[in-house]
């Protein structure tokens, strides 16, 4: 609720400034300009939105599968952890701004290079908290399991994996937040469609309001992904948010 009020105040201030000052519409379109442009260009925006949504959606799925798989492997085998973890951290220092055009040059303007960029940027915030949570499962519970004769697999199945589930959701929410940036960046490096492509095209064409509309659309999409994840977590890991109620 508070977020809505803050947003409304911000939009009001912006509208007032854009209306009352002499600022050019090409430099700073007002919120109503953005809204009317969004409506006029809805077909264009929708086509490009579908491209970017696909890049983000599939890229995130790859990142989740890759992130969970890596977290499990790094957790299971100490050698893999020692050998691979530094490389994973190094992978995050690779400047995506430089890699993106190279990938576009190697692989073309289609979906594949975008998926690589999104997955590369998004898997890391999934791996790290998930791995920590797998390793950080309560020692008392591990001991209980060992005392009952649990195998390695049963430790994972009954204790470690459920312990790590809330962390996996946290990591995925972080990944969602940066997936949009990654997709836009990948499109900027070389593409013929997508909201990022549309933004970079709109600004030199002095269609600033259209670029803003694309940004708003992308934000709304990220927000709804985030909200969907929060709802999913409530369903899948309800113990992480226990309802306040009387104790039996």
């Amino acid at each position: 609720m508070l977020a809505v009020l803050i947003l409304l105040a911000f939009l009001g201030g912006w509208q007032a400034y854009a209306d009352l000052s002499d600022i050019d519409e090409f430099l700073l379109p007002s919120p109503t300009d953005v809204l009317s442009t969004a409506w006029e260009d809805r077909g264009l925006l929708w086509d490009n939105f579908q491209v970017t949504a696909q890049e983000m959606g599939i890229g995130l799925l790859i990142a989740i599968v890759l992130g969970v798989g890596l977290a499990l492997a790094l957790h299971r085998w100490a050698q893999v952890r020692r050998g691979l973890y530094p490389l994973l951290i190094a992978s995050q220092t690779v400047p995506i701004v430089l890699v993106a055009p190279l990938l576009a040059a190697w692989l073309g303007y289609d979906l594949t290079p975008k998926l690589i960029i999104v997955a590369l940027v998004c898997f890391f915030p999934i791996v790290v908290p998930t791995l920590d949570a797998l390793a950080g499962a309560d020692p008392g519970r591990r001991k209980l399991m060992a005392g009952l004769g649990a195998s390695r697999w049963q430790q994972l199945r009954f204790v470690e994996a459920p312990s790590a589930l809330p962390a996996l959701f946290t990591g995925t929410r972080l990944a969602v937040a940066i997936a949009a940036i990654a997709a836009v960046l990948a499109e900027t490096a070389g593409s013929d469609a997508g909201l990022g492509h549309l933004m970079t095209q709109s600004i030199p064409q002095l269609e600033t309001a259209r670029a803003f509309a694309a940004v708003v659309l992308l934000s709304l999409f990220s927000l709804s992904l985030y909200a969907a994840l929060t709802l999913a977590e409530r369903r899948v890991a309800p113990w992480a948010h226990p309802p306040k109620g009387p104790v039996l």
Partner: protein, 269 residues
């Protein structure tokens, strides 16, 4: 009597005539355990024989190796010297037939009380529906049936520990090792839980090793109180408690046992 989870006949007689086996259920002989490359001696020269069906309380000052003793009995650690003999495992993959209820709240927060109770059976390879069915019967029998579908977060501390005891019993192990099972409970809740445990053991006799820092708990529940010295832990007293159940904390005989245990604790510091 506790209003919730009470059972009808809280009486239990100390192990009477041990049937065919004269062998102890747990037999520790000259056990030594060291940590940190020999610089910390947790246990030294501990010998302890526990008859089948006996409830033995182990008391001692903090850090005297009480929990280590339980780990050794349950096969979670190996002694550096001496021998530990425990019964054959009841569950697949278990090291021994002794099962540990570790200190603290070890219920799985993501599982219902029922699934927590069924955990030992699941690990032993029993399929989920069958394990749940047996757990439900057990929880009903122990007066915990109404809590079966609640998650631990919705249960009080006393109920959580009871569910954990039920889970330990459902492992089917002949020897159960309880590490401060009621240590985190307030005095009134603890008294309820202790009465419940007495009644439970009357229903389902097991050999019990009960680690506690509470001399009253030891005097109320145990057939025998073993007192360990400060580190390195050694057995400094072995006090029989030949009193009928249920016992009352303020009973003169119980108080006398407490006094004897406290004196032995003081002497072992």
């Amino acid at each position: 009597m506790p209003a919730k989870g009470a059972m009808s006949s809280p009486t239990r007689t100390p192990p009477a005539s041990v049937t065919l086996e004269k062998q102890p259920a747990v037999d520790l002989d000259g056990v030594r355990r060291v940590f940190a490359a020999g610089s910390v001696v947790a246990l030294d020269g501990v010998s302890l024989r526990v008859d089948p069906g006996a409830v033995v309380a182990v008391v001692g000052p903090s850090g005297c190796g009480k929990s280590t003793l339980l780990d050794l009995v349950c096969g979670l650690q190996a002694p550096d010297a001496g021998t530990v003999r425990s019964p054959a495992p009841a569950a697949r993959g278990a090291a021994t037939g002794a099962v540990l209820m570790p200190q603290g709240d070890t219920l799985l927060p993501w599982a219902s009380a029922l699934d927590n109770a069924a955990l030992a059976l699941r690990i032993a390879g029993v399929a989920r529906p069958a394990a749940r069915e047996r757990a439900r019967v057990e929880l009903e029998a122990l007066g915990l049936g109404q809590f079966a579908d609640a998650r631990p977060a919705a249960l009080s501390g006393g109920m959580r520990q009871r569910i954990a005891v039920a889970r330990t019993l459902l492992s089917g192990a002949g020897v159960i090792c309880l590490d401060e099972p009621f240590g985190a409970l307030d005095a009134i809740t603890r008294a309820d839980a202790q009465r419940w445990l007495t009644a439970t053991l009357a229903r389902e006799p097991r050999t019990v090793l009960l680690v506690t820092h509470d001399t009253e708990e030891a005097a109320l529940l145990a057939d025998r109180v073993v007192v360990l010295s400060a580190r390195p832990g050694r057995v400094v007293a072995d006090i029989p408690v030949p009193l009928p159940h249920p016992r009352v904390a303020t009973d003169a005989a119980v108080v006398a046992v407490r006094a004897e245990v406290l004196a032995a604790l003081e002497a072992g510091r």
